[in-house]
């Protein structure tokens, strides 16, 4: 009988009216890799933030090695041997690795001996785990994979026995994921306990020995990983059976309707983020852009949708030049020409979160009939339309008067999608369509995109989820450092091949 290193009993936590955790019970055994799976918003991160002392539970108890402890701040947790690698790294970007790691645990008022000692200790730790980190490097110069290692090193240096990782693979290439898993397995062999929070079923199956499933703030099941399957876990997560594969018909490719020639784009800091990009999309085709976040996909989509200035090169729609460095059409004019855009940052660009759902549903078309007449909104028409479209897109709850920010991520995305798709665009630019969206909604959104393709739209899909790119695209290009580093027909391509391109090594 193994005794649990961490035991949670009846944990409750609410934020305002929302109960994020309801009567959670959880036992984690020493020396295991324990997975916690659930959809976005299921309460996994909240629960682990409570264990890390960042949030305080409203009720319930936490025991470490059988001893009840009171966690008032992360310091208490760290002292008790808990480390956490957050989804958004908790690093100061303009500090060095060393400065980030000793922060809060300097051990001396004026830097001197202890700093030197810390450096030696860290170098030893790096060697033990084969981390290959330069302690004097500045964080902003490091790749995401290395930043994550810094986070792990930070926890280890602070004496973590239990290491919690919150969605650690979201921003990594497949190769980096392999590296990470290797590190986690070797940590387990050292006797450390790993808690892996994820919504990716495959990671649970690959790595963990035990798994707990959360749904809507509740713990709905615990099982040994060997006794379960992906399908079974998905059903537990969503509460109904889910189709994990996308059904896609054979491609019926039409003529080229969207063309990008030698496009370069700069970001707000005047750094060239898109470098000499050429691409073509045909009617009835989905072109996927794979790549690690921050390799120019964002700027590319912004330039194509008319939000960002073109530095050089041109964009053609139906053989007509619509944008180059001198003239460009704004998003509204592009919309009139049949180009729609589902922006990757839903909260910032896709929606006005403080508006009601029905306002967001027609925004951009609000000055057209039938939604308005002579500059006056026709509320009756808008409400009718909203009711209809929200039903069609299965937006829940189906209440057009609800403030948009009160909808879940998936339902917000459906609102945007319905608005952009309803005009039957010829070209559709989509960025991260399922970021922060629950599995049920993912299935729906994917199906809608496929429908659009079958209706003859040319679709450009940028996503950091490689699975998404692989299951939807007809053709895949890979972006690295602003350039297109590879193009493949989506036949027999593996995620490993793409991963090498994404990392810029192939």
């Amino acid at each position: 009988m193994v005794s649990p290193i961490l035991e949670l009993t009846d944990i409750n936590k609410s934020f305002g009216h929302v109960q994020a955790n309801k009567n959670i019970n959880l036992k984690i055994n020493k020396g295991t890799i324990h997975g916690i799976i659930g959809e976005n918003g299921a309460g996994k991160s909240t629960l682990m933030s409570i264990v890390f002392g960042l949030y305080q539970a409203n009720s319930g108890s936490i025991k470490i090695n059988g001893k009840e402890i009171n966690l008032r701040s992360p310091r208490d947790s760290i002292i008790n041997g808990i480390g956490m690698v957050h989804q958004h790294f908790m690093l100061v970007e303009n500090f060095t690795v060393l400065e980030n790691i000793i922060l809060g645990f300097e051990g001396e008022t004026v830097f001197g001996e202890k700093l030197q000692k810390a450096k030696e200790d860290l170098e030893k730790l790096c060697q033990t785990y084969n981390f290959n980190i330069d302690l004097d490097a500045t964080i902003s110069d490091l790749s995401v994979g290395f930043r994550q290692r810094v986070e792990i090193l930070k926890s280890l240096y602070r004496g973590a026995e239990i290491l919690i990782l919150d969605e650690p693979t979201g921003v990594l290439t497949p190769q980096e994921v392999d590296e990470l898993f290797k590190i986690l397995r070797s940590l387990k062999d050292e006797g450390k306990t790993i808690v892996l929070i994820t919504h990716k079923l495959i990671e649970i199956m690959d790595l963990t020995s035990e798994v707990s499933v959360m749904r809507q703030g509740e713990m709905v099941g615990h099982t040994k990983t060997e006794d379960t399957s992906k399908e079974q876990l998905a059903e537990m997560m969503v509460g109904r059976s889910v189709l994990l594969r996308v059904d896609k018909k054979e491609i019926k490719k039409g003529e080229t309707i969207f063309k990008v020639n030698n496009l370069s784009v700069k970001d707000d800091l005047d750094v060239t983020r898109v470098k000499d990009v050429n691409l073509e999309i045909c009617s009835g085709e989905i072109l996927g852009i794979a790549g690690v976040t921050g390799n120019g996909q964002t700027e590319l989509l912004e330039a194509l949708s008319g939000i960002r200035k073109v530095e050089s090169g041109s964009i053609e729609l139906f053989g007509e030049k619509i944008s180059d460095q001198n003239n460009f059409l704004n998003p509204r004019m592009l919309k009139e020409k049949g180009l729609a855009h589902v922006p990757e940052d839903r909260q910032r660009m896709g929606l006005i979160s403080d508006f009601k759902a029905h306002e967001n549903l027609i925004f951009g078309y609000h000055d057209q009939e039938p939604y308005s007449k002579s500059a006056i909104l026709n509320n009756k028409e808008i409400t009718e339309y909203s009711n209809k479209v929200m039903q069609e897109y299965d937006v829940r709850p189906n209440s057009p008067n609800l403030i948009t920010s009160n909808f879940s991520g998936g339902n917000q995305q459906k609102i945007i999608l319905s608005r952009e798709l309803n005009e039957n665009p010829k070209v559709l630019l989509v960025g991260q369509p399922t970021r922060g969206v629950d599995i049920g909604a993912i299935e729906f959104i994917h199906q809608r995109l496929i429908d659009m393709r079958d209706k003859g739209a040319a679709i450009l899909l940028a996503s950091v989820e490689l699975d998404e790119i692989l299951s939807l695209s007809d053709r895949i290009i890979v972006m690295f450092d602003g350039k297109i580093v590879g193009e493949k027909e989506n036949k027999n391509v593996t995620d490993r091949e793409l991963g090498l391109l994404m990392a810029g090594v192939a």
Binding site: S73, P74, H86, M90, E93, N94, L103, G104, E106, F111
Partner: protein, 323 residues
């Protein structure tokens, strides 16, 4: 030789005029490095000037006046912290409120206590700081260059001038060589990282603001109990804003901020010298134009030359843990 003594007196006044700017810029560095915008340097400087003048008038000792000014300025910083750190209010609004409050308060209190709106009684020699003459200043004056440097530039300043320039290496040392400094910079860049390292973000910001209050008090006391012998209405005259500009121009770094302060001080010293002077070919420059020089310079520098002054990442954002 006259040219040399002109230069010497120009440098001398540059050092003196820059003093309140240096204190204020150093104060600003603490607040802003911790992530709290501090436009209220202006108001706090004015309040410090008022409190120092009143304090030394009643207590008969300028050091006690200074102490009182420090206490009041720290209180004002805490007020700013209470509004913008604890209650997550808009930091700029909180600063503007403090500035407006103090302009009115100093004027009104002076009227109530001394019968003159915005004016405090003149301090006698015991109640104010006097110029410090370094030893042998007079004896060494006639030695060429070194004598001028020692006697006319280094000697004969108020205590605040020396303290201001000593504060710069001290601030540098605290910010970059101590664990407090590391935490201070971290909390202004990424408060979440500080929180997850087990350090209280709010406490850190309050500590930074407390130091900010202490430093800015020196700037105010310099104005009313050293270079002047009383407080008068709005005597800070935009120096708080100028210091803030210098700090931004200096990229939130003590050394470069010092250089920026000296630059502003120099243009101010220059404009005083240039008033009424006929320049060859141009003739006499209108005094208003000359007086506007430091401010024009500020605008030009901030608009044109600073370019990529990258502010602490989390500046102006209240820390919200639970979302």
């Amino acid at each position: 030789m006259e040219f040399l003594s002109d230069i010497a007196s120009l440098i001398n006044s540059t050092l003196r005029i820059s003093t309140p700017l240096v204190f204020a810029a150093m104060a600003g560095i603490f607040a802003e490095r911790s992530g709290v915008i501090d436009f209220s340097l202006e108001g706090k400087m004015l309040m410090a000037a008022f409190v120092a003048a009143v304090g030394s008038y009643y207590l008969g000792n300028p050091w006690l006046g200074l102490l009182l000014a420090i206490i009041i300025c720290v209180c004002l910083s805490m007020l700013h912290g209470f509004a913008s750190v604890t209650h997550k209010g808009d930091q700029v609004v909180s600063c503007v409120a403090i500035n407006i409050l103090i302009i009115g308060l100093t004027t009104a209190l002076a009227a109530a206590w001394f019968g003159q709106a915005g004016l405090t009684p003149t301090l006698n020699e015991d109640q104010r700081f006097l110029e410090i003459h370094l030893p042998f200043a007079d004896a060494l004056r006639d030695i060429p260059v070194i004598g001028t440097l020692y006697s006319d530039i280094l000697s004969g300043h108020y205590v605040f001038v020396y303290l201001a320039y000593l504060s710069v290496p001290l601030v540098f040392w605290i910010v970059f060589k101590t664990s407090f400094g590391l935490r201070l910079r971290a909390v202004g860049e990424n408060p979440s990282a500080v929180d997850t390292a087990g350090i209280n973000v709010f406490t850190m910001r309050y500590k930074a603001l407390a130091i900010n209050g202490v430093l800015i008090a020196f700037a105010g006391a310099h104005l009313s109990t050293a270079v002047n012998a009383n407080f008068f209405r709005e005597m800070s005259a935009g120096r708080g804003y100028l210091a803030l500009a210098a700090m931004i121009f200096g990229k939130w770094h003590p050394k470069t901020a010092l250089i920026a302060c000296l630059l502003f001080g120099f243009t101010d010293a220059l404009q005083i010298r240039l008033q009424g002077v006929e320049l060859p070919a141009i003739g006499e420059i209108p005094v208003q134009l000359i007086q506007a020089l430091p401010y024009i310079l500020t605008v030009v520098l901030l608009a044109g030359f600073v370019g990529k002054a990258i502010a602490p990442n989390a500046i102006g954002q209240p820390y919200i843990k639970e979302r």
